[in-house]
């Protein structure tokens, strides 16, 4: 299989800013400022604020019902915030500016006999909003092939999308989302249906996009551990509220206890982080030192 993430042609993003993760301060691609969301009379998100920059990999961590999907839907304009702002590139998000977001939803329902091949779906990522019939062109075909190769899905190009396995579909959906050359890529629990190896491959692919191609990657997950090695920042969601920063700044008993509204402990068990309720457990304090080993 092609090494994921190496051949992606995201020419605009790459040329405007040199790759590498510790460069000068980068522009904020996305910022949420005091966002409140009410759904059916319930406050699902309250006072959510954070910012992410180009070339950063950000994990959105929270358990079921924490509000991860809702937060993404607000960023995408599919749900309205009752107060607060969503800024894209420093400006209030609009219908037009949201086109520069690539999104891989949590669930995509596809009928097995849908007459649509993986390459058709990826191609639609490029120009689905355009009117008229797409004339097959060499350039379009090459762009699709290149993108499929970039996510390691060349062999799936001619399969019906409805027949792909969870992991295969995930790759194709990422390719679809990347076709428009987004500066911000949002993925809602892409690891949920994947085995450990496929999960790692996807995480590496996304880290390559962020750190090698200057895309801001925002990815939701239940579990923080698979992301520890690649994550630049974490947005931790609990009870509708968010805490954000580096892992060392956020995943601490004091910060998380405040977020959850009750005492929690953060344990480091052989390099894996466990967050559990209650404070009468021998906690490890901050994780900064332990995490130093994971990062380079």
């Amino acid at each position: 299989m092609a090494r994921p993430g190496r051949r992606l042609l995201l020419a605009d993003a790459v040329s405007t800013c040199p790759p590498g993760r510790h460069g000068e301060a980068r522009a904020e691609v996305l910022a949420l400022d005091g966002v409140d969301v009410w759904l059916s009379g319930r406050k699902v998100l309250s006072e959510v604020s954070f910012a992410i920059r180009a070339g950063e990999f950000t994990g959105v961590i929270g358990s079921n019902g924490a509000g991860k999907t809702t937060m993404f839907r607000v960023v995408l304009g599919l749900e309205a915030a009752s107060s607060g702002q969503v800024l894209l590139d420093g400006e209030s998000a609009s219908h037009r500016s949201r086109r520069s977001i690539g999104y891989v939803p949590q669930k995509v329902v596809l009928e097995p006999d849908l007459p649509l091949r993986a390459r058709d779906l990826v191609g639609l990522g490029l120009d689905a909003h355009k009117l008229g019939v797409p004339w097959p062109s060499r350039a379009r075909r090459d762009a699709v092939d290149e993108m499929l190769a970039g996510v390691g899905a060349t062999s799936l190009a001619d399969a019906r999308v409805g027949t792909l396995s969870g992991g295969e579909l995930q790759r194709v959906l990422i390719a679809h989302a990347l076709m428009s050359g987004p500066r911000l890529l949002i993925l809602d629990e892409p690891l949920a249906n994947l085995d450990i190896r496929s999960g790692q491959e996807i995480v590496e692919l996304l880290a390559g996009l962020a750190h090698g191609h200057n895309v801001a990657v925002l990815m939701a997950a239940h579990d923080i551990n698979p992301l520890l090695e690649v994550m630049d920042r974490v947005v931790y969601l609990a009870g509708g509220r968010a805490a954000s920063g580096t892992v060392g700044e956020v995943v601490r008993p004091d910060v998380l206890s405040r977020l959850y509204g009750h005492p929690v402990s953060v344990l480091d068990v052989e390099g894996r982080i466990l967050v559990i309720a209650g404070s009468n457990i021998q906690a490890v304090g901050t994780l900064e030192d332990d995490l130093g080993e994971h990062r380079h």
Partner: protein, 275 residues
């Protein structure tokens, strides 16, 4: 060999088959067969109402198709889509029945509204059919990509800046337009089979959207041509042939697709054994 009367029939039916094949592709893709059933029922009620008032049948038919489509769209956004659609069918059929009971139309004309009058189309009717058909095809060509993505995966369309409520509205208007074109020729009941059968068959046979649309159109055309010929020769109602052939095309395509899959599997096994 054909009289001008037959040429008219042939032209009108060919137009209707072509648009049914093309638009049917999106109907099946969206899982909206039920909608394609409901809108022609509205058209039927509209035509019955128009003949009661003594105004243009085509006008009444078009207005009610539009009304039916908009109602389904409006109710569907506020509750279950299938329930809204089903209720529209029932209300429209009820209205149609009422209008018919009040009017003094000949039974044969009512029969034609339901089952079509392919073998008695006048020159001016053909012109209207061809013009409306061309407009429908143009609309599909314009909306091809948004319709394709939002029909296959509404979740993804939303993120490409396509608002699904707008695409849905465009689709419903398209179904109303096609219904207005087709119902005077093939009738409110047959319209439906011509949209679903060929498109379902094509989607089983091809995995490429463009190829599937062409196949769907080709199957719809063959169905209609064969039906006209068979009806002309046997003097049986054309509806019988259209309905049966559309159903047969679907079953045959499913069987063929299954056989092709089995062959692909056994070839693979042979290959594996040979290695």
């Amino acid at each position: 060999m054909f009289s001008s009367f037959m040429v008219n029939t042939w032209l009108a039916a060919t137009t209707v088959a072509a648009i049914a094949g093309v638009v049917g592709f999106f109907v099946v893709l969206r899982g909206a067969s039920f909608v394609a059933h409901a809108v022609p029922k509205s058209a039927f009620a509209g035509a019955a109402g128009a003949s009661l008032l003594g105004i243009s049948t085509l006008g009444g038919l078009g207005a009610f198709s539009l009304l039916g489509a908009l109602t389904i769209g409006w109710l569907g956004r506020r509750g279950r889509h299938d329930v809204a659609t089903a209720l529209s069918i029932v209300v429209m059929l009820g209205l149609g029945a009422l209008f018919l009971s009040w009017s003094a139309e000949y039974a044969s004309e009512i029969y034609a509204l339901l089952f079509g009058q392919v073998l008695g189309v006048s020159g001016s009717e053909v012109l209207v059919t061809v013009v409306l058909g061309a407009v429908s095809l143009l609309a599909v060509a314009t909306l091809y990509r948004p319709l394709l993505l939002s029909s296959a995966t509404p979740e993804l369309a939303a993120t490409r800046g396509l608002r699904s409520s707008r695409v849905e509205l465009a689709f419903l208007l398209l179904v109303a337009l096609v219904t207005t074109t087709a119902v005077p020729v093939v009738g409110a009941l047959l319209m439906f089979s011509l949209m679903i059968g060929p498109a379902g068959a094509a989607q089983a046979l091809s995995r490429r959207p463009a190829t599937a649309i062409c196949l769907s159109t080709a199957i719809a055309l063959c169905t209609v041509w064969l039906s006209i010929a068979a009806s002309y020769l046997s003097n049986w109602p054309i509806g019988f042939f259209v309905g049966t052939l559309a159903g047969l095309a679907y079953v045959a395509a499913r069987l063929a697709a299954a056989a092709l899959r089995r062959r692909a599997v056994s070839v693979e096994r042979l290959g594996a054994a040979g290695r």
